[in-house]
């Protein structure tokens, strides 16, 4: 009798439990990209691109993917999602979202409240990209399709490409989490812009202070330098710099280089007067990709170019640091260094106010290691 009842208990628990937390793939509506904006009333507006399958012919035929764009508003992110769920047939499933687009206005406020739900829910997609967009994020999502590429795919591909060229940092929802809570480190995100009816473009990076977008950006001309200073060089780093302003032919004024190797030395020191000095030495190994003036066979010319490049790049790095200090964006994590090695120096002080006053000293050393297959 005891055996039988325990057996039926087991059977019932198998039959009656489980299953309810099933999330069938075929019932879910997969969200590929979402944008977040603030409305005039201060509510959060979520716009999602949902991937829909259109079958060519029933059964066979290649399925065609189409985006369905749905917006919802609410006081919190969850509320706006609930509204979308009311509009949408099937289950709203943002757990494979590939990209989150933050509208400029929203990013200028605290962005943590947006990400709270993403960190709290175990099923959410932590590997998705986060980008900041000029204007409203929903405008970009609503473009639906760029050429033959669907919008979310297009943004992701753009950002990935830019990452490869060291134009923007490789950040995901997960990687910015620690930075958001770290008072000694700030982050910067890819910054994109809708440039036309049918095109979007990576403009550079958006600088954040703590959890807020500062409104300051670095263009793609300067952002590689920031990434180099941050020791985050990706596979390719290509810069076009003006080295011969005196030349008449415009194309001869410029040189295009690829940075093949990067060694960064960052030294933080505090002097007697409690003044903080940061010394950054960048040792770059450079390949010359394009130099229309073409006098590279002479060692003298190479030497001259080396000196010139070092000069230009040093001034560029100084400019980037100035911009960072201006935006109060501690992207290089100087605060963290200080907290670790010189905790007395910032004790009781307001780090936010101290940061712009730091004395930065940057030096770029260039070593030309290649000029291509012709001299």
């Amino acid at each position: 009798m005891k055996k039988r009842s325990s057996f039926s208990c087991l059977l019932l628990s198998l039959i009656l439990t489980g299953c309810w937390d099933q999330q069938l793939l075929k019932d879910s509506r997969l969200v590929y990209g979402s944008s977040f904006d603030v409305t005039k009333e201060g509510e959060i507006e979520t716009t999602s691109a949902i991937r829909v399958i259109q079958l060519g012919s029933k059964g066979g035929g290649q399925p065609v993917a189409v985006n369905e764009i749905i917006s919802g508003t609410g006081n919190t992110l969850r509320e706006s999602r609930l509204e979308i769920d009311r509009i949408l047939s099937g289950e709203y499933s943002p757990n494979k979202t590939r990209v989150f687009v933050l509208g400029e206005e929203l990013a200028k406020k605290d962005i943590y409240p947006i990400f709270d739900i993403l960190y709290r829910d175990p099923r959410s997609s932590l590997g998705s990209k986060v980008v900041v967009v000029k204007g409203k994020g929903s405008e970009i999502i609503k473009m639906n399709q760029i050429g033959q590429t669907l919008i979310s795919e297009d943004i992701v591909e753009l950002v990935k490409d830019a990452e490869k060229y060291t134009l923007v940092p490789n950040e995901t929802v997960q990687s910015i989490c620690t930075l958001m809570f770290d008072p000694g480190k700030d982050f910067y995100l890819p910054y994109i812009e809708k440039t036309g009816e049918k095109s979007i473009k990576v403009m550079g990076v958006a600088l954040f202070n703590e959890q807020q977008y500062t409104g300051k950006t670095l263009s793609v001309k300067d952002s590689p330098m920031l990434l180099l200073l941050h020791d985050r060089k990706a596979k390719l780093t290509r810069l076009t710099l003006m080295v011969n302003p005196e030349e008449e032919n415009r194309i001869k004024k410029y040189i295009t280089i690829d940075i093949a190797g990067n060694k960064r030395d960052l030294k933080v020191s505090v002097d007697n007067k409690n003044k903080i000095h940061v010394n950054i030495d960048l040792h770059l190994k450079v390949n010359i990709l394009e130099y229309a003036k073409n006098e590279l066979s002479q060692p003298k010319e190479i030497e001259k170019l080396t000196k010139k490049l070092a000069e230009i790049l040093t001034s560029k790095s100084t400019y980037v640091i100035d911009q960072l200090q201006d935006a109060n964006c501690d992207a290089l994590g100087i605060g963290r260094e200080l907290m670790a090695y010189y905790p007395e120096s910032i004790k009781g002080e307001n780090w936010e106010k101290m940061y712009p006053m730091i004395d930065f000293q940057t030096n770029v050393y260039v070593d030309i290691i290649g000029t291509g297959i012709i001299k």
Partner: protein
């Protein structure tokens, strides 16, 4: 509850069993003896009685027409008896086995085993003359266990031939054969083979003890025997190795295991075996060691795929689709879009269809079995997807599962593992990955706990014996495997040494 079915009825034997024959002394009246024998055999019509004169005495020769070899009987028994002047059967009959019995029931038992019996006038004894008729089929490679390289011999239905095949491989006086007879009304002969001084005698004793306990009317095949002597009849895993290959039996004997041969069946039981014995084939040793190792590893992967792939797929599409890469996810989703069933029903449907196809193709004669391939491959495979009953991916999953279950060298193990997939599928459909891990845990606990004939089934993993791993998921070069596996508890571990000593001598 089981007592209900196993009440012993030993004292009250049914009259159709062999032991029920009454013990009757042979009388000196020949004709009375003949009629009594006919009575005991219920006047069966293939009992022939031949009466003739031999050395002034009337003799009669009785035999079952169907059981004796006529040619031998004529040349070795009847002719000498007719020609000799004194007619003493012990001197004139030159067959290998000649026995004198005094009990009629023994004579009858001799008759049904293929003896002829000779009765002489005024003699109260019976000569049993061995001249059985046999028509063994030729020795062929077993179709269920083919190899690319190596011996192509296979066991047949004749016990003596089978023992000959083993002896041919192991020419060793220590190879010991012990006969037992089981089956109360069929009298099936069973041979127990082991190598004395190598096999653990505890295990040999245990095998004999278990076989001696069998009280069954009818033992047809080793399958019967297996169910009576295996340790855990409720386990899904086969605990005795079934093989039709003499080379395999020989190598197992040389590892210190015991083989049981049953007359009338080409399958031989080997015990005690571990889980990994079922994943070894003679091919592994016939090819170079890293090829052998690669296939071992492949089979190990096939085990994991067979047992878990459908379950993992179900869990992924119904609980955890986040883990699929996004590009794959989209094509998965598009294949699932118009399927009306939950994944578990889909999987069950396809698995059952597959089992049906497999079963049908075994039963059908081979010319028709090919149509099954067409029906299975084209009709089921394509049409089911066209009709949106099952998704494309599920077909792939089930097909891969089936193929990897067929990789197992012993088909019984392959089927067992495939069937084990069903509880896993149900668990994954109810609890996702958690369910899968629970069922896996139960299976693992069971495997660790299982013992066959006193040796651990999941060795060398549980208990962990690092050295014995040499011949499980990899096969090391033979000159490195110089010790026997400890799992059948052999008396000597060393089996090889210094076979590549020439290399050292050269230097």
């Amino acid at each position: 509850m089981w007592g209900l079915f196993s009440k012993k009825n030993q004292n009250n034997r049914p009259s159709y069993q062999v032991q029920s024959l009454p013990a009757i002394e042979v009388s000196n009246n020949m004709n009375q003896n003949i009629s009594l024998i006919q009575e005991l055999l219920h006047h069966t019509e293939d009992l022939k009685v031949k009466v003739f004169q031999s050395g002034q005495k009337e003799c009669s020769l009785l035999y079952l027409d169907s059981m004796v070899d006529h040619e031998t009987m004529e040349s070795k028994v009847i002719n000498p008896l007719l020609q000799s002047p004194d007619g003493n059967p012990l001197t004139v009959i030159n067959v290998t086995e000649l026995e004198i019995v005094h009990l009629l029931n023994k004579a009858v038992l001799g008759l049904i085993e293929g003896n002829a019996i000779l009765l002489r006038e005024h003699d109260s004894l019976i000569y049993l003359i061995m001249c059985p008729f046999s028509s063994p089929r030729s020795i062929k490679e077993p179709i269920s266990e083919q190899v690319i390289r190596g011996s192509h011999e296979g066991f047949i239905e004749d016990l003596n031939t089978n023992i000959f095949l083993v002896r041919k491989q192991i020419k060793n006086p220590n190879l010991t054969v012990q006969y037992m007879t089981i089956g109360e009304s069929t009298k099936t002969k069973v041979a127990i083979l082991h190598i004395e001084n190598l096999a653990n005698e505890e295990i040999v004793k245990e095998v004999k003890k278990r076989i001696s306990y069998i009280h069954s009317d009818y033992i047809q095949a080793p399958g019967h025997l297996e169910e009576f002597i295996e340790d855990n009849p409720f386990s899904p895993f086969p605990q005795l190795l079934n093989t039709e290959r003499p080379d395999r039996v020989a190598s197992q004997l040389m590892d210190g295991r015991v083989a049981v041969l049953v007359d009338g069946s080409p399958s031989v039981l080997v015990m005690p075996v571990s889980f990994f014995s079922f994943y070894q084939t003679p091919d592994d040793y016939n090819t170079r060691w890293y090829i052998g190792s690669f296939f071992r590893f492949l089979r190990f992967i096939s085990f994991i795929i067979t047992i878990s792939l459908p379950a993992v797929y179900i869990a992924v599409v119904s609980f955890h689709y986040e883990i699929i890469p996004i590009d794959l996810l989209f094509s998965l989703k598009s294949s699932l879009e118009y399927v009306p069933f939950p994944p578990i029903i889909e999987a069950m449907m396809m698995q059952v269809t597959l089992e049906l196809l497999r079963e049908a193709s075994i039963r059908l004669p081979s010319p028709i079995a090919q149509t099954i391939g067409v029906v299975g491959g084209l009709v089921i495979g394509t049409a089911v997807v066209e009709a949106n009953l099952v998704s494309n991916t599920m077909i792939i999953v089930v097909a891969v599962t089936a193929i990897s279950s067929f990789v197992v060298p012993v088909s019984e193990m392959g089927t067992s593992v495939r069937l084990l997939g069903f509880p896993l599928m149900i668990a994954s459909a109810t609890f996702g990955f958690i369910g899968i891990s629970f069922v896996f845990m139960v299976i693992l606990i069971h495997l660790c706990k299982l013992e066959t004939f006193g040796s651990p089934y999941f060795a060398p993993f549980a208990p962990l014996r690092i050295r014995d791993l040499q011949d499980t998921i990899v096969r090391l070069p033979l000159w490195l495997m110089n010790k026997r596996s400890r799992e059948p508890k052999p008396k000597k571990l060393q089996k090889e040494y210094d076979s590549r000593g020439w290399k050292k001598d050269e230097e």
